[in-house]
Symmetry: C2
Subunit: 293 residues, 2 copies
């Protein structure tokens, strides 16, 4: 038996005006995500259900870059990606560049026990819909806020960035799980896929550790960040030190970012190299901590 623990993040990035202005709402959204996941555990569900629930809650919050409220591609469209992984058997499900699945993490979860791990584009949306996932029209994901941000970017401004949401969990049975969801990078070319849906880059869980990454996706891909963390922990390196090594490697590949990780003993690390990374940790009994910077 383990003491269950859940950690969530809402993206590493700048301590933007949006974050300052909506600090209370962001805290509330993190808290709601943790409480939703905590309720799942207390209801007897497992770590996979908990991270799925936490990410669904954050996908619904318009100020986080995932699901509803996703950052827009250069052409004004929304393309979303997500992944989930179960540590006990390393089952994984992931979707990339989907445009219609209301909760991308539900699309990823639909693949967790499927013959394929990763599906992309319309086919992934169709696969999820055929398994009961709610579908939206692509335009429904586009918020006025993200439309303004794209305009600011086109005008040469640099709107504050923070993106991607994720969750990791150790449940009372000792199962580890990780989930990540993103709308991608503001102004990205359509068709670009970052680290979030790539198992071993942005998302990973095994019997040792569960991790969800956020930041400059290409640098996380080039480091194999999540898989590297697991390999270091497997070698016996302490979680906090291993996480810092990974972020140092990401930095050496030119990228900033952060990650949340939990190991099989319930240790949690939430390092980041950016100004801010809204995050929170829930422990059994409802003990919550929330931080933004």
């Amino acid at each position: 038996m383990s003491e269950p623990v859940i950690a969530v993040h809402a993206g590493a990035g700048t301590y933007s005006d949006a974050l300052r202005q909506h600090e209370a709402a962001c805290r509330d959204a993190l808290q709601a995500a943790l409480e939703s996941a905590g309720a799942a555990l207390e209801d007897g569900q497992d770590a996979v259900a908990a991270v799925r629930s936490a990410v669904m809650a954050m996908e619904s919050f318009a100020l986080f870059n995932a699901g509803f409220g996703s950052a827009l591609c250069a052409d004004g469209s929304v393309e979303m990606s997500a992944a989930v992984m179960r540590g006990s058997d390393r089952a994984a499900g992931a979707v990339a560049a989907i445009t219609r699945t209301k909760h991308p993490i539900v699309g990823a979860h639909a693949l967790l026990d499927a013959p394929q791990v990763l599906m992309i584009g319309d086919r992934a949306d169709e696969y999820a819909a055929a398994r009961g996932a709610d579908a939206w029209e692509p335009s429904m994901f586009v918020t006025e806020r993200q439309r303004r941000r794209l305009e600011e970017r086109e005008a040469g401004d640099s709107p504050g960035e923070h993106g991607t949401v994720g969750a990791v969990c150790l449940d009372s049975a000792g199962l580890l799980a990780a989930a990540t969801s993103t709308g991608g990078r503001l102004g990205q070319p359509p068709g670009r896929v970052g680290d979030t849906p790539l198992i071993g880059a942005g998302t990973w869980a095994d019997r040792t550790v569960a991790v969800s990454c956020t930041g400059e996706g290409e640098a996380f891909i080039r480091v194999g960040a999540a898989r590297l963390l697991a390999a270091l922990v497997e070698q016996g390196i302490a979680l906090e030190a291993a996480a810092q090594t990974v972020l140092d490697e990401v930095h050496s590949c030119g990228g900033g970012g952060g990650l949340i990780a939990v190991d099989a003993r319930g240790n949690v690390a939430t390092p980041f190299s950016t100004e801010a990374m809204p995050r929170g940790v829930w422990r059994a009994g409802g003990n919550l901590t929330l931080e933004l910077t």
Copy 2:
């Protein structure tokens, strides 16, 4: 200065009738790929150019499952994926589920120094075409042989499988590079993406090792196979032992397959757990070895 070395594979799988009947042609194709890459090195080009050249040669050979001659999806279409990685700075480029780029590895290579690592679908084809990559009509990739194989599969037969091509290289300047290209799994659902284009799953290169994987893609993804190999070699584990550990983990995730790897000292490993993996090694001076089983 290093003694340059190139290794190629044409997919782990069964020792199929096709392979038996066309053994000489397969050997010739492997040899042509190695000689093309060797000529690139002797011409003063680097390891990236060499692996690109080797993979292009194999993409053109109808009996290998990549480019022209790719395995068909369940709907009879061809979707191709490829990746390339440069060890010195871990720059990487990858494409997934493309349908029009004549040489998928050229599409991946077009992204090697781009802001994004991975692009998918039509957008990736358009990106490659805009940078000069030759484009074909999607139907031009479909061979009569692969159409028959899909029919056999639909009829309940199990046509012999071997798929994916790849190359790794250490050049005389000590640069490592890896490249992989595939038509995916025979009868796969359109939209499914395997390990080939996922940096750290099917393809990886850093300053320590370059690796290209082949086999049941989902198992390689769930192991983070290529990134794991690099982490083990980085720890000081000998290449051959590290490669075997990776294949053991892939097996424990239910998958068969193989890989080719070269380390910074010019050691080469080409282990596989399947009946056959057509492969070859080129060393400076044109010394060639070719094997199928």
